[in-house]
Structure formats: C-alpha cells, structure tokens
Amino acid sequence: MVIRIGAFRHYEDRIDEIQAQAAFWVARENSGRIREAERIELREWLARSPAHELEYTLADSLYADETLTAALKTAPRLAAQRRALPVKAALEWVQQGLAAIAWPKLVAASLCLALCLASASVLFQPTPDAPAEDSRLARGMVLETRPGERLLVQLPDGSRVELGGDTSAEARFTPTERHFALRRGDAHFDVAHDTSRPFLIQTKRAGVRVVGTRFLISQLDEDTRVDVYDGTVEIRPDSDETSKLLLKRGSRVMIGRDVTITHFDATDENDWRNGWVDEAQISLGDLAKLVERRSGERIVIDNDLTQLKLSGRFRINRPDDLLEKLGHAYGFKKIYKDNTYYLVDGN
C-alpha cells in the first residue's frame, strides 16, 4: 500500500503551490523552449490530481486571453521607452538584435542598418501634443532592404514593423488612416491598437485591415500569405473584392490562384525571426527565393528541379546546411561556385 502524504492535506491548503506550479508550466510552454522531458513531466503532473488539471487550464486560458493583453496595454510601465527610443539605446538594441541573428559577414551591414533605424527613430520621435506627424510620413516614406538584410521600423503610433530581406514597402499616415504598402518581400507587423485609425496594408494580391494585432505577411511568386499571431485580421483578396475573410490567432491564409485557409502553430513567434519557416508543398524555386532573401546568397536551380514540391520546417538563414540536407533527401547536388549555389539534378 502506498501512502501519499500530500493527499492528507486539503485542496484549499495546497492551492497556492498548485497555482504556482500551473503558472510555471504555462510560462514554460509559452516560452517556446520546453524540452520533451519536461512535457512528459507536465503530463504526469496533470494526471496526478484533478486539481492540477483544473488550475492548469485556468492559468492557460488566462495567459491566452486577449482580455489580458488588452488590460496590459493600459498598465503603468516601469520606464516609458516603447514609443520614443533614444537613438543610442536604439542603436544598441538593434545591434544586439542583429548580433543574435546575423552571420559574421552581416556585421558590416548591421551598422548600416543600425543607422537606418537610428534615423527612422529620430524622424519618428513623437512630439507630445502635435497631432501632425512627421511630414515625410504624411507624404509617404519608402522603406527598403536588400537580400540578407533586416530592418526594424518603429512607427510614431507605437507600431513596429520588421522587414525581411529584399523587401520594399511604403508607409503613409493620415489623421484617419494608417497606410502601408508591402510591394515586395515579407514583413512582421506588431500594430498598435487604435480603433479610430485603422491600419491598412496593400499587398500584391490582397488588402489587409487591422486595428491592433500581430501578424506576418510573406509574398512569394505564387502566393501571398498572412500568418496571424494575435488579434483579428481582415483580408480582402484582390481577386474577389466582395469577399472578406476574418482571421484569428493561429490562422494562415494563402492567396494565390485560390484562397486557402489553414492553421499553424502560433505559439512561437520568434520562429520567423530565427529563420524558420513551416511549409507544406512549397516548390524548391519558392523556397530558394526565401533563402535568397533571408541569407543574401544567390541560388541557381536546374529547370527541372524548380517545381519539386517540399514540405516541412526549414531553416532558411543557413543555406549551406539546408541545401546539403535537402540534396540528400531529394536527390540533387549542391555546388558552390563564384558566390552562388547551383542546384543540379543528382542523376
């Protein structure tokens, strides 16, 4: 017979411990770095008592609740630095960010990017009581990156847009609307909430309208896709002006010849920042484009290989590793010559 000491104590006397443990698991799961062994431990913990399960689901619902993010938006801050980053801090910040993501050869580029951000940051310093924002932003401001670069733009309304490589965009703010045109490439948006001033994005194949949310737009040759990480995003495909899609957290829409809606795992938003993409049935040609944009490397593919379809999680900021592994799996050869990767049929 097994005597469980814990079972003698009332549930009410253990509630603090259980809530702390439940909060620990929820934070762990949402940190995106929970290990497999910990998952097993979590499952065992949940099975041990109905009290564990109850507190875990309550903590999980609370953490995922959009009411919580809404409440946090009005919370007093320790140091108000979100809107007006001092130039020096901005410089350090972007350098640290780049140090974490960049390859050694990007270090030179990182300084140039840092300067871009610095000027953008100065430019967008909000003045306390002037509703008129920077005139350059009112006229339309062009933002561009070359392959392999990244650019983080802090807009005066508090929104943050992170441009991927080989991307071209234009921001234009009016008193009633925030316009953003994504002409080429991909960008991650963290849009500051403002119901009176919707954020409108024009892409190649669809218009996107939000009031405050986080999502990623990627444009490929064959389609434009939107991954929603938080809030609600409204999308109107150009091909069908009358229809409107409302997407919530975890939804992915792909607008190409058809409009397809699927789901993806929205728990790890840093996936894209860290160079990961999750693709089903992407052509080798399109995947190579993503790699080129992110890494700045040139890739030339044999004609009969471009339409090869691949599925899985790919790390596009490490072209050498990725192409090597794919070559083994799909039977093509990778040759690196004159700063270019050539992919040729293995037979």
């Binding site: 549930y11 009410e12 702390a20 689901t57 609370l62 009411t67 963290d190 997407l247």
Partner: protein, 170 residues
C-alpha cells in the same frame, strides 16, 4: 436531479445558485443547465481524489472553467474564417461581461509589483524573449521567468479571490 444524488456539501439550493450564476455569465439557460450538470459530475470525481473543504466554491470554479472552455471552443469554430454576414462584434451582454473582466484584470495587474508588471507586459504584450527582457531590465533569464510565473500565479489568485465578490467578476 434529486438532493441525494448531489455530491457532499452541495444541495438543491447551491445547484440553483450555480445555474443562475451561469445564466448571468452565458445568457443561455440551456447552456447553464448543461454546464451545471457537467460541473457537478466533475466535482464528484474531484472529491473522490482530493479532500475539499469548500465544495461550493470549487463547484463554481469548475463551472467557470467549463464555461471558458466552451466559449473558447465556440470561438474556434469561427476562427478559421467567417463570411461577411457574420457580425464579429459581441452582443451587448457579452460586451458588458468582457469589460468587467477587463476592469478586473486591470486591477489585478495594478496590484502587481512594478518590476513584475513590466516583465509581464514585455513578455505577453510585446512578446519579448526572456533574454531580451533580461538585457533591458538587467535580470537573468531565470529571474525573468520567475517574474512571469509569479505574475501569472498572482493574477490567477486574484481572479479566484474575486469570483464571488461584486456583480460579475468574470
């Protein structure tokens, strides 16, 4: 359901109070009855494995959890796509409940120590990594995680404490 099939500590009066509470929260009598029924069954299971002092409070908590899960499931069915005929705006009752929850969470957040609150804002609202937060606030990643955990646990404790106070805590 007769009184003698109800779990220990729960009488007809408690059951009626629970249904009334759930009708207020959900606006649907049928849903309230379903959830109350389900919650009572779960309470019986719960009590077979744990010693419970206040079964009434636990019953309400289990019911609230079931209601949240139900609403989340319902949201998920329209999550993928809704067409233009579906109005996303909440009904007036829902909006009132949501604003109550918002106000409650705001109070709970205000009650957190400033540093812990800052960590939570950066983590949950701004989606910064533990490393980023640690760098900005001069904390180790482990300390950042502890702040997130404690903040979340405090908010949960606050919710529990205020479930029965006021008109509509949830």
């Amino acid at each position: 359901m007769t009184a003698n099939t109800l779990p220990f500590g729960i009488g007809v009066g408690e059951r009626r109070a629970l249904v009334a509470f759930l009708v207020r929260k959900s606006g649907s009598e049928m849903l309230a009855e379903d959830i109350a029924h389900d919650a009572i069954i779960r309470l019986v299971e719960f009590q077979s494995r744990e010693k419970v002092r206040n079964s009434k409070a636990l019953l309400f908590k289990i019911a609230v959890n079931l209601l949240i899960n139900h609403q989340r499931r319902e949201n998920r069915t329209v999550e993928g796509v809704t067409d233009e005929f579906v109005d996303e705006r909440p009904t007036q009752d829902r909006a009132a409940l949501d604003s109550d929850r918002l106000a409650q969470l705001q109070r709970a957040i205000d009650a957190l120590p400033p540093l812990r609150r800052e960590v939570l804002v950066r983590r949950r609202l701004e989606n910064q990594s533990y490393e980023e937060i640690g760098r900005a606030l001069n904390l180790s990643s482990a300390a950042v995680e502890k702040h997130v955990v404690r903040a979340l646990a405090s908010l949960r404790a606050y919710q529990d404490k205020h479930v029965f106070e006021g008109v509509s805590p949830w």
